[in-house]
């Protein structure tokens, strides 16, 4: 009996986890990744430390990448799925390497680990992203932290006061994003801790309407940020950002505890941009005929009991392609999807054998 042939689309935490588990279980795995490297969005956008243990991103992801490379996965970088067709004998897939010819493959089962994108804050006009250089989003600021280059883009000076604004492009009907991104709170607080760790002279303020630091993030991140790093929290949202007298940013917010409108100057402002389905996720779903759920992510067959099944038999899904998730959750889902995909492929092989007998 030949080894099951399984396609994994996407080389981020979920895809890496799925691919190496499958290969280690004896499957023939092809991993298709559109970028020229493995590691997904955390790597692409130069994330800095990962919560809750504040470990550098490479310490979290590099072991996974190494496992994939050592376990015999066929990694196709700079590649994308060009066509996709399911039929009785498997999934017929054409993969295109950048600038190269189409390669045809047949797979027994497929895992979509196509991931998320950070929401584009240009669309929340009142915050002046793209108008004021010192207004940054998550990806801008993570990169700044990872490169240890904390300066105001407007004048190159080290900021004295930085504010974070949670839920930008999340929990907001105005921009059609009804859901919580789950990560904005913990990442913002983590960023503030990183700032305070490296630059204790910088004041950090987090503007929030709710703090949702689930589980162990509560004490390891939220509480610790106050106890050890003196990160300050303001209960209320910033409604608009404008240019102040000296080129600083003026954040207008209501302090909902004091119940008064406030106006505070900052040198830098970080928008906690939400998560939405990546272009790759939406495109792959269209190619493979997967249903999307109402927020635009891939719809699990049953969100409670079958979270890594899609609406198409033989295609499974892992990670942020089904909704906002943290890296450990994506890694777990990768393994879960690997198990399901492997079982499906083996059952199929058994069925085929019985038919030919």
């Amino acid at each position: 009996m030949s080894s099951p042939r399984i396609l994994v689309v996407g080389g981020g935490p979920a895809g890496l986890s799925a691919a190496c588990d499958l290969a280690e279980a004896g499957a023939n795995v092809v991993l298709v990744e559109e970028e020229g490297f493995l590691g997904g969005t955390p790597k692409k956008l130069h994330y800095s430390l990962i919560a809750p243990d504040l470990k550098p991103v490479q310490e979290v992801l590099d072991p996974l990448v190494r496992r994939v490379e050592q376990s015999g996965v066929e990694v196709m970088l700079n590649s994308e799925v060009a066509s996709f067709k399911g039929s009785g004998d498997g999934f017929h897939v054409e993969v295109r390497r950048k600038g190269g010819p189409l390669e045809s493959h047949v797979f027994d089962s497929v895992i979509a680990a196509t991931g998320f994108a950070h929401w584009d804050p240009h669309k929340k006009y009142e915050y002046g992203y793209g108008v004021y250089p010192d207004v940054l989003d998550f990806k801008d600021f993570e990169r700044m932290l990872s490169e240890d280059n904390l300066r105001r883009p407007s004048n190159g000076e080290t900021p004295k006061r930085i504010a974070w604004l949670l839920c930008v492009g999340s929990r907001d009907k105005q921009v059609g994003k009804f859901y919580c991104c789950r990560m904005g709170c913990v990442v913002s607080i983590k960023q503030a801790m990183e700032v305070r760790q490296k630059h204790p002279e910088i004041d950090t303020y987090v503007y929030y309407m709710d703090i949702r630091t689930y589980g162990f993030w509560e004490d390891k991140v939220y509480w610790r940020s106050m106890e050890e790093f003196n990160v300050k929290f303001v209960r209320g949202r910033i409604g608009s950002i404008n240019r102040g007298e000296d080129g600083r940013l003026v954040a207008m917010a209501e302090d909902t505890i004091l119940q008064r409108p406030t106006e505070v100057p900052f040198d830098m402002l970080v928008l906690a941009t939400g998560m939405e389905a990546s272009r790759g996720t939406v495109e792959f779903a269209k190619l493979a005929g997967l249903e999307l759920e109402e927020h635009g992510f891939i719809k699990p067959l049953q969100s409670d009991s079958l979270p890594v099944h899609t609406t198409v038999e033989g295609i499974f899904v892992a990670g942020t392609a089904t909704g906002p998730k943290a890296i450990p959750d994506s890694v777990s889902e990768g393994s879960a999807a690997a198990m399901k995909a492997l079982n499906f492929a083996r059952r199929k092989a058994v069925a085929e054998r019985q038919q030919t007998r």
Partner: protein, 424 residues
Amino acid sequence: MGILSADQIREVVRARAENRSVSDKKVSDVREEMWTLHDRGELIVIPITPENKPVEVETLFGWKKKVPTDKLWHHKSCGQCGNIPGYPASLLWFMNQFKTTYLNEPHQTSCTAWNYHGSGTSNPVALAAVAVRNWYRAYETGTYPLIHCGTSYGDYKEMRKVLVENKEVRDKVREIMHHMGKELVIPEEIVHYSEWVHVKRDEIASMVKYDLKDVVATVHEPCHYYKMVPEDAIYDSSVLGGQRPAPPTALLQKMGVSVADYSTWYDCCGFGFRHILTEREFTRSFATLRKIKPMVEEAHADVAITTDTGCVTTLDKSQWVGKVHGMDFLVPVLAEVQLAALAAGAHPYKIVQVHWHTSPVEKLMEKMGIDYQSYRKDFTEYLNQIKSGGKIEYLYDPHSEIEKYFAVNKGQVIVEEQALKRGE
């Protein structure tokens, strides 16, 4: 009670708001439903025809909006006509320059929304009927309503929505209209005069006679232009990164004016509808401290530019009293069309009527290079001429006596009959 479930909320919101993000989501556009009702004979849509020479623009969500540029019915603003007469005069002056056909009639009421927002002494049926009565007058004369006031513009869009979505109000308003021998009509688009100016900005800018590059302007965007029905305001990706409404900034930039940002850009002017009349401590404090002061101290504005009645009034009139607190700013406040008219060589007193402004415009005119003193002398002579019963100058031929009483002209012919004075 009264609180809807998440699914109901989603339905309501999907039906009326839009996300600025995912393009393949379908959002309800009240204009589509309006046409359906038109087809069903429930109301009559006043169409924008090729005769109106429409120009297409984009609004907040990238939707298209047609802005008619000809055969217009001026829906005047009571605050402009009452306190800032150079505002409509400048607009009509430009229209004469462009040989635009229009009607400016006594057969119009205000939208009455200033009163409603100030006092609560009205209701949706009355507000909608007032709107339809005015629209109908444009309809029966074969012209298209151009709304001068930001509040009328916002109110009329709300009334359009009420009339389209609420059958009870629609039926009642239709009944009232029938009692007056009129029909229930709604214009295809609700169009603000600043949108006409916006689509005419190239032509206007080409008429500029003075060098405006040293003129620093701060823009106050009128709330009822872009906050009341956000999805209908004009945005242009080439103006302010597409993140703030394009009028009037696009015109100012086209004319070579330096447009400066300031920290309270999003704030309202402090007008408050009732406040400007009977709570003026609030209005003048807000206007001076929250708008004028940042405009002067942060942006060093030579002039504050806005596109609505209440904002010009509030920002202009509220400054003088600031002297009490040592805030001697007196920044001129003009509508964009007034500044444009000044720049294009219109008479500062006879047309732009700057003498109605309490924060003097003379210093600005000097900076622009306008010889205002000779214009002023000319105007003083003109006033003496009027006092002694001499000839009065008009932008179009005055109405006949009978029109003080009756809206007699009902046909297409009226536009031609009006014998507009052209040019000079």
